[in-house]
Amino acid sequence: MRYLPLNGADRAQMLATIGVKSVDDLFVDVPASARLTAPVNLPRYAGEMEVEAQIRAMAAKNLSPSRVPFFVGAGAYRHHVPSTVDHIIQRSEFLTSYTPYQPEIAQGTLQVLFEFQTQVARLTGMPVANASLYDGSTAAAEGVLMAQRITKRNKAVMSGGLHPHYTHTVETLAHAVGMETEALTPAVDAEAEVLKHIDKDTACVVVQTPNVFGTATDLTKIAAAAQAAGALLIVVVTEVMSLGLLKSPGEMGADIVAVEGQSIGVPLSFGGPYVGLFAAKEKYLRQMPGRLCGETVDADGERGFVLTLSTREQHIRRDKATSNICTNSGLCALAFSIHMSLLGQEGLKRVAKINYAKAHALKDQLAVIAGVDVLTPRFFNEFTVKLPKSAAEVVEALASKGILGGVPFTRLHKDEAFDNHLIIAVTETVSDTDMSAFVAALKEVL
């Protein structure tokens, strides 16, 4: 077996050194009733060719977005990632290293994390950021728990513009720790509504911009009002590319920012792994969950980086930790950081403008189709239309024509009132031809 370097002669020598007769003697502590005497009922080992054929056969049953006009978003986006990114993350020294517990031989990973944290802080307009969380949704949930720790209040209010998966994820975690949640009714232009639901128990309000319907909202006044009421403002961003064009959460007064970073550097990969960006005001630094990388000096006084403030973490604090998180999303954070450093603000702003322009071009083409009602008032690269029939059926009909035409809102949240709502994303990867094909096909299926 190609991954196992020992051969029979090695094993015999090693057993002799250990002083046992067979490898079975090393499993003596297993209760006899639980010892499997033969391999379980699964196929035997296979060569690369056979394995590759099996996986390829499954891949071939999927409709690849690389081959068709593609308008699916709603929390995960198809963007162009420079080939350099994937090349670098596959370097042995990045791919096959572990958490940087020995900083002297992990400065590669650590400097990248320090740069990543700085990029995230600047992108979100916040002073501090951590070394990444699992994804945007768990970052949002961790933000809510952090708000509880900070405010000692016990309720989270979530806007009707929050991605329903995020709402459900926050509910699951918040309820697990005994917090109350109030999820407001989904609405296209929903963020300001949270203010009406703040009371003295409200630890935080969670708003999203652009929200799940695509609506971009200036949160400046919401931030001020929430904070005046003693609640924290948690801003969720599921399309990080929007920060190249839209005002940052920090500028608008956010206390905590939870971002899905997938759009920069990370492949769609059917939903994961992604990378959660997490940033906060400096005063909340020690309440942040997850890993932090900090600058320090070595014995010669030279700059170096280490994981720090681990006294917040589970492996030191055990049942007193700020969170139970152990891993971050290191490799995705690396991918994000490389892509971000290639883009720079110049590239980011430019690609963001292209997203904006393409999405608005498609919106203009759809708006004139009879029966199609564009609902989103202001948006970046995604908007919602109300169709004259079930969005789910339309999407299936489009798929059968080889077009991946968006996300029916009911895919995320079951509610008949939204049966005809379709969320449409348009990124720089969409060509004019793709748009024409979409418009033509949509006309046919409506």
């Binding site: 502590d29 999927n62 690389s66 839209l246 139970n324 998180i325 720079g344 991946l404």
Partner: protein, 487 residues
């Protein structure tokens, strides 16, 4: 060796990505449009390549040498796995495409689930947890939901052995349980008597790692399971060390109710400097109904994704994250499984255990072993008793290993062993590499012991590493004056 931070140049005019000129102004966004200066530098592609390649060479990696991090399991990462994860139709598909367009992806998840269930002897699995600790959370939430459904909501205590991973008590506390510690016997296992004395009627579950964090198989595991079940509680098994027994022992046969599987540990998805992980949780019949949404269902003529859990199981405890988990890790893990097969996975466990025992047998005359009797499983545990009388600590010894080209073992864990040194070689090390490691450690140990008679030589250890990209780093300063971003 100094590698400049990308921010130090303060030049924000460059970019390493070419896009067409665009002059559309988003006038309808008004005030929402961001100002010009984001403070984000761009690097031309050659500059970026060099920055990251240079940085990478400052890392140790499993591809360079043994990485004997006990309880962290660094084994070979086959590149076939990476290739499969990047296939068109795998790496590029969107989680919200219509199910009709992702039948292969759902089949892949279903196949992975089948392998995990078969290997563990468990009837159900929740795939979506994004890491081991996330899996622990999933398991405990399922247990909590089950108790609540049965009117046992008063059960608010979780039993945790003193040797447990920090995530165990952290997770239990996180979901509102109080943690009760179970003592350990002199031979490194759960103290059954202590356990019995601590099982009260408010106990919700025990969280137990098996093989445990001392690298030992819990001989009384079946009895422990029975005690717990008899008390109306559930048995959560921390599956971090499943790689030691895969193919030889099914946790379902031991009485486990829930166990997360760190795909990166047992099934070799890459660690990538600390993640991403993936922590599917296998569940017993008793807990299966409480698994989180979403899940894959076979519809007879294909697969569907049950997103809301209303029809099949309204008992689900909720959703752990957006979308449906770490597909990129699923495909790598499944590729690894298919490559090894049932016979190969069994061999994995055997070779992992053989390698660990070989290290233990080869070092125990010079380094002290806290639990010398009987075999260990996949990792060999040493303590610092043998260093008594020297000024060399476990930390010093570990840092001195760096100068020899090896990554240190896990230090000071498990907490129950003084100055613990936990060595996990894994099955993907050759005998030649193990011998090189053993020879190096024996020589280094002899040098450490010789410092008893020569105080000057202590400095070699105290000041180690000498040959790494940096000298020993000041972690106290980092924590006292946290500096997490540049500028």
């Amino acid at each position: 060796q100094y590698e400049r931070l990308i921010f130090e140049k303060k030049d924000y005019t460059r970019t390493g990505v070419d896009f067409a000129d665009i002059d559309i102004m988003p006038s309808d966004l008004g005030d929402l449009v961001r100002g010009d200066d984001l403070g984000l530098p761009g690097l031309a592609e050659p500059e970026a390549m060099r920055h990251y390649v240079r940085l990478s060479q400052k890392n140790h990696a499993i591809d360079l040498a043994l990485y004997p991090l006990g309880s962290c399991t660094m084994k070979h990462n086959p590149r076939l796995n990476e290739k499969m994860a990047r296939l068109e139709g795998i790496g590029d598909i969107h989680p919200l495409q219509p199910a009709s367009t992702v039948q292969g992806a759902l089949e892949l998840m279903d196949t992975l689930a089948h392998w995990l269930k078969t290997l563990t002897g468990m009837p159900a699995v929740a795939l979506s947890p994004k890491a081991g600790a996330h899996g622990e959370l999933c398991g405990l939430l399922a247990i909590k939901a089950a108790h609540e459904a049965k009117g046992q909501g008063h059960r608010r205590t979780v039993l945790v052995p003193s040797s447990a991973h920090g995530t165990n008590p952290a997770t239990a506390a996180f979901v509102g349980y109080s943690v009760r510690e179970i003592a350990q016997t002199a031979d490194g296992r759960v103290d059954l008597a202590d356990l019995k004395s601590k099982i009260t009627d408010d106990v919700a579950a025990i969280m137990l790692t098996n093989p445990n964090t001392c690298g030992l198989f819990e001989r009384d595991i079946v009895d422990i399971a029975k005690l717990i079940h008899d008390a109306g509680a559930y048995f959560y098994c921390d599956g971090a060390n499943f790689n030691a027994i895969v193919g030889r022992v099914r946790p379902g046969d031991l009485g486990v109710d829930a166990m997360h599987i760190n795909l990166h540990k047992t099934f070799s998805t890459p660690h990538g400097g600390g993640g991403p992980g993936a922590g599917p949780v296998v569940l017993s019949e008793a807990l299966a109904a409480y698994a989180p949404t979403p899940w894959v269902v076979s519809t007879g003529n294909g697969y569907a994704l049950e997103e809301f859990g209303e029809e099949a199981s309204a008992a689900n405890f909720g959703r752990m994250c957006a979308f449906h988990g770490q597909m990129g890790m699923y495909v790598r893990a499944l590729t690894y499984m298919l490559s090894h097969g049932s016979d190969g996975l069994r061999q994995v466990a055997e070779d992992a255990v053989l390698n660990a025992n070989y290290i233990k047998a080869s070092l125990q005359d010079i380094m002290s072993v806290p639990f010398p009797d009987g075999p260990c499983m996949h990792e060999a545990l040493f303590d610092d008793k043998w260093l008594e009388g020297t000024q060399v600590t476990t930390l010093d010894f570990a840092k001195a290993m760096i100068d020899e080209g090896f990554h240190p073992m896990t230090m000071y864990f498990p907490l129950v062993v003084h100055g613990a040194m936990l060595i996990e070689p894994t099955e993907t090390e050759s005998k030649a590499e193990l011998d090189r490691f053993i020879d190096t450690l024996r020589a280094l140990a002899a040098t450490a012991l010789a410092t008893k008679n020569n105080a000057d030589e202590v400095a070699r250890f105290k000041n180690a590493p000498h040959l790494a990209p940096t000298r020993r780093l000041d972690e106290t300063k980092a924590a006292r004056q946290p500096k997490l971003t540049y500028g």
